[in-house]
């Protein structure tokens, strides 16, 4: 395949030098010719940008203006490809979202791969292609990276670490300690989609309707929220592992306040809700990968909610809870039938019930 300026990944197939090795061998992580072939024929064409093209030991970037936000996350999801995305999308969006909800504009990412000997290069190419697509969608550049290969049986095919750099405007103040009684909690859309999508394929559960991960970059939505709410926005979070419930607990603890959740207001897709009921799981504690929770002063809540709903990733946004001075560090749900209950913090993973 001749090298072209813009590789067409839709019709991509393994470039010539890689074809000799359809699967990852130890040498791909050895720093020799095989390693550089992987970089030259797979990573560079996908992530193409000036900083990366130098192939230095470090990416050298232009000066940034504002406070610098730095975040890192490691991705070990199984299966690597799932309804609505892949580990590649997650690796980019996960770090982009961590930066975004910190009020930063994400700019650059690094990508570290731990590959298992025998992992198909075609799968790696697909993952890399999806990382590139997510990076383009989020407007960030992947500027440096690393690949290591571990022996067969010592990894799960592919692990990815990404770190990200973003810039936070000087005037912006955000953080859980700013959250106070009276604040309103908004969520940008339906919860528990990602966790149930993963479970539906990982556990071989066959649900009648497909449940799709919500994996998406939140940088644009976060910018709109800050635009609409200004300093009335006290904190933002992307509730991933542990779900919205874990996020609410985190904020309740940090702010030493209580949170009252209106159960009837929680947006949950019917198929996701049904799957959760079937397995005895609480959607509040199931993972998301493209949702944000916003803690905002009551008088700005309507404006922020309207801004969220005007965005394609916030169309199902809802006002779901309020922060109160009572019962500090505790979540209480107002149930559909009008009673109250404590929402317990989870100890480990939720376990499906027997019957």
């Amino acid at each position: 395949m001749p090298e072209t300026a813009k590789p067409d990944f839709a019709n991509w197939s393994c470039p010539l030098p890689l074809r000799d090795y359809p699967n990852i061998v130890m040498g791909h992580g050895g720093g020799g010719k095989l390693s550089s072939e992987l970089v030259e024929h797979l990573f560079l064409p996908a992530f193409r940008n000036d900083a990366l093209a130098n192939l230095g030991d470090a990416a050298v970037l232009s000066p940034l203006h504002g406070r610098i936000a730095l975040s890192t996350d490691t991705f070990v999801v199984q299966p690597l490809f799932f309804p609505g995305g892949s580990i590649g999308n997650l690796a980019v969006n996960g770090t982009v979202n961590d930066l975004s909800v910190s009020g930063a504009r994400p700019l650059y990412l690094t990508a570290g791969f731990v590959l298992e000997e025998g992992f198909p290069i075609a799968d790696l190419a697909r993952i890399v292609e999806e990382m590139a697509a997510s990076a383009r969608a989020a407007g960030v550049q992947i500027v440096t990276g690393d690949t290591k290969v571990v022996e067969r049986g010592h990894g799960d095919g592919c692990y990815i670490n990404t770190a990200g750099v973003g810039v936070v405007p000087d005037h912006l103040r955000l953080g859980p300690s700013l959250v106070q009684p009276g604040d309103v909690v908004l969520v940008s859309g339906t919860i528990a989609d990602h966790g149930m999508a993963i479970m539906s394929v990982r556990e071989g559960l066959e649900f009648e309707s497909a449940i799709v991960s919500d994996c998406a970059p939140l940088n644009d939505l976060a910018a709109r929220v800050l635009e609409a709410g200004g300093n009335s926005v006290h904190a933002m979070r992307d509730p991933t592992r542990g779900g919205l419930g874990a996020t609410l607990y985190e904020i309740a603890n940090a702010a030493n306040a209580g949170i009252v959740v209106e159960e009837a207001q929680l947006p949950v897709r019917p198929a996701v809700h049904a799957a959760c009921e079937l397995l005895g799981l609480d959607p509040l504690f199931v993972a998301n990968e493209g949702k944000m929770a916003v803690f905002v002063a009551a008088d700005a809540a309507d404006a922020v909610l309207a801004a969220m709903r005007a965005h394609s990733l916030g169309a199902d946004a809802q006002r779901i809870a309020r922060v109160v001075a009572d019962h500090p560090q505790m979540l209480v749900a107002r149930t559909r039938i009008g009673s109250n209950r404590v929402i317990p913090a989870q100890i480990g993973e939720q376990l499906p019930r027997i019957c």
Binding site: P270, A271, R336, S339, N340, V342, P352, R353, I354, C355
Partner: protein, 370 residues
Amino acid sequence: MKYLTEFRDGEVASRMAKEIRQIVTRPWCIMEVCGGQTHSIIRNGIDQLLPEGVEMVHGPGCPVCVTPLEVIDRALAIAAQPEVILCSFGDMLRVPGTDKDLFQVKSAGADVRIVYSPLDAVKIAIKNPEKEVVFFGVGFETTAPPNAMALHIARQQGVRNFSMLVSHVLVPPAIEAIMQSESNRVQAFLAAGHVCSVMGYWQYPPIAEKYRVPIVVSGFEPLDIMEGLRRTLLQLERGEHRVDNAYERIVTFDGNRTAQQLLAEVFEVCDRPWRGIGVIPASGWRLNAAYHDFDAERRFAVTDIHAVESPLCHSGEVLRGALKPNQCPAFGKQCTPRHPLGATMVSSEGACAAYYNYGRYIAVEELTHA
């Protein structure tokens, strides 16, 4: 999936609560037998909507809670054997044995897998012919049919490396044991709807008659439970003691005959120890002679099991309805969902865990500062 909304309607619930308040003229003590109902009552705060004096007592219908410690220790010992893949439903993994739980055995290298159906365990056995696959088969009449089906298929297909550690228990003998107990306060029962979906409710009229106790078959959604309570309280106030079916959309008098035939093919009735309660005569199922080859207890001659219950744990009294979870001296102190002393604190259906997790916040607030 209308049941998720229709049977949780707030307006209907408050109408029903009002109706119940109008029926009740004096205190009553009602036991919901099934752990799933306990979970729903506490999670939805149904007890808060009941008139003062109507007391819900939580029954022994949580399979995780009543499985004897000795059986759990046996499962742990079998799981620890190198050739074994132990398959279990998720919430059995956290149940503590005498020294450890299945999670700890797993992290020490045992192959322990969560499955959603015992049929998946049979599939795992077919895929791993060099391994011994054991399914931990606990539960009431509800979980027994899929277990029986798994055994039926394994026998039919000659899956010789599959076996089951069986500790099934039955509801009607438990109800009788509660009524015979000297300290009994229970005046009526909500019978477990899903058990009855399998078994029907033909077993209950003689019990209602013998002990002069109303038994109302009830579902699990908030409105199902409230309807069950409404019908129960009507009987109590009128001095009646009938078997009534408030879960008509699922339960018939005869139950699922096909399932019952399959159960008869695989199991036979036996005396069974209930954790925290003791041996109840003819209260369980074990594999019958035709299925002895699939009995994990026979296949793995595990000896050296010395089950020791925590002396602080009062789960037996909780399961009999003699003690409320929060009346146990260890509740929320030495015993929490994180460090459970007894099984009632482990399963989300266990009365202690349900109390700890979903209790009204004032009570829980006191606990967190204790």
